[in-house]
Symmetry: C2
Subunit: 261 residues, 2 copies
Amino acid sequence: MASLPSILGGLDPTSDRAVFRQIADQLREAIDRGRFKEGEKLPSEAELVEHYGVSRMTVRNSFSILQGEGLVHAEHGRGVFVRPRPPVRRLASDRFARRHREQGKSAFIVEADAAGSHPTVDSLEVKEEKASQDISTRLGSVRRVLARRRRYLLDGRPVEFATSYLPLDIARGTQIAEPNPGPGGIYARLEEMGHQLDHFEEEIRARMPSPSEVKTLQLASGVPVIHLIRTAFDTAGRAVEVCDTVMAADAYVLSYQLPAT
Amino acid sequence: MASLPSILGGLDPTSDRAVFRQIADQLREAIDRGRFKEGEKLPSEAELVEHYGVSRMTVRNSFSILQGEGLVHAEHGRGVFVRPRPPVRRLASDRFARRHREQGKSAFIVEADAAGSHPTVDSLEVKEEKASQDISTRLGSVRRVLARRRRYLLDGRPVEFATSYLPLDIARGTQIAEPNPGPGGIYARLEEMGHQLDHFEEEIRARMPSPSEVKTLQLASGVPVIHLIRTAFDTAGRAVEVCDTVMAADAYVLSYQLPAT
DNA sequence: CACGCATACTCGTATAGACGAGTGGGCAAG
DNA sequence: CTTGCCCACTCGTCTATACGAGTATGCGTG
């Protein structure tokens, strides 16, 4: 690495911009310019204290800004590193097309294999429970539901946590209530059972994760989540499933096709 | 407000959870439980220093966690407040349907009026410029484009910043190159000019905002942005427009309909 | 009554120091 | 050579203090 002074400038004491912001600005610019590359270690707190002639808390303050922006992450005992951008998963709007259900494996597995990643699914929980107000409304005033929870990982990294809710009168006693719903997933089962699927509605929000989401998805600070709520409707117009998904935003690009009519 | 001890508990010195995290946890829980309501002022730093018997930096550290989560925001000289959740704008997948173009006003104005908000559009800039690598690719290897930039505000609050890019051979010299593209917007003009629209593709990402986005959208800390890139295709299969939009994530819910076929 | 100023309270910025805990490399003992 | 320990370096947590700057309130002056 080049010497610090050649990468980072000095402070402007006449500026009304706070010192820790100036330092953050310089580090951010250096990262943007590629002076520090992905995964690379930034100068240590002590080095920056030396370089800028400020106190350690001021340097830490600068780092915390960059952390909040999702640009860097700190590792205890090792240093502060430029956060690598993980490979993203692209979700296309035809991902639930019937033709994709005809294979044996789930969409997640097929897709990850094709991308050369190693997919895993865990935290499987299937149980009956009371429907929340929101889920009840979306499913048309049901009291209790079958909930299927699972977590998806790519190369060991959790990227998505999803819960499917189905009305009991549809799901109880069927293979949908089993841990393994069989080839093609629950949508294939629903169609076999006569609930011909008509369309899906997806609602998308983005926000910062709750502490429990940080834990479940092992999120670095400064990484938002995409919250997607999908409702599946059958040809009778009935909502037959609601799937609530929380995704690590840095691992996903969602893609949709809209008709112009 | 009830007394502090009745709302916030004490610290657990035996816990290995850091003190500032414990304090953040207690404040978060109090907010979640509604003990502090939206827009309400939290106890001041000094009060919490007193209550917990810790130093001020520790309390500030706790606040900075909650700020990063987007739960609270600080106002210099006033206090720290529970961040109110602003009214959201719902974008439906039929928002570009032809029937919506037949009115004189833009979709944004119509929709906001209906919701009882006061809409504004500003920062209008229309100019020819060199296409970025990405835009060029999306539009099919064009060198230069017409760029239309504008910012949308609801009740004075910026919520969205958008730039449309069009190939010069389509846009140059037409009303699309004027500040006011006329009733129904540029999509209406494109269709009048023979570019019958066939479908749109939208790509959605979520991430933390850059400093310039924080400024333009006046974002509070802890608010991510939704980055949406839409490409419009005509019936000849040509990409006739790319619209790059950055939205304050707390102001939007996107909604899509997908066919099940 | 209206205005302006003093003042107390708020958060913002910065310093200096202390100790703890995780990491990794080097060195010494086996 | 291998093992295990020590040490240097890293970030994590916390205290105590100081001054600055924005806000709001009340009081006194005009």
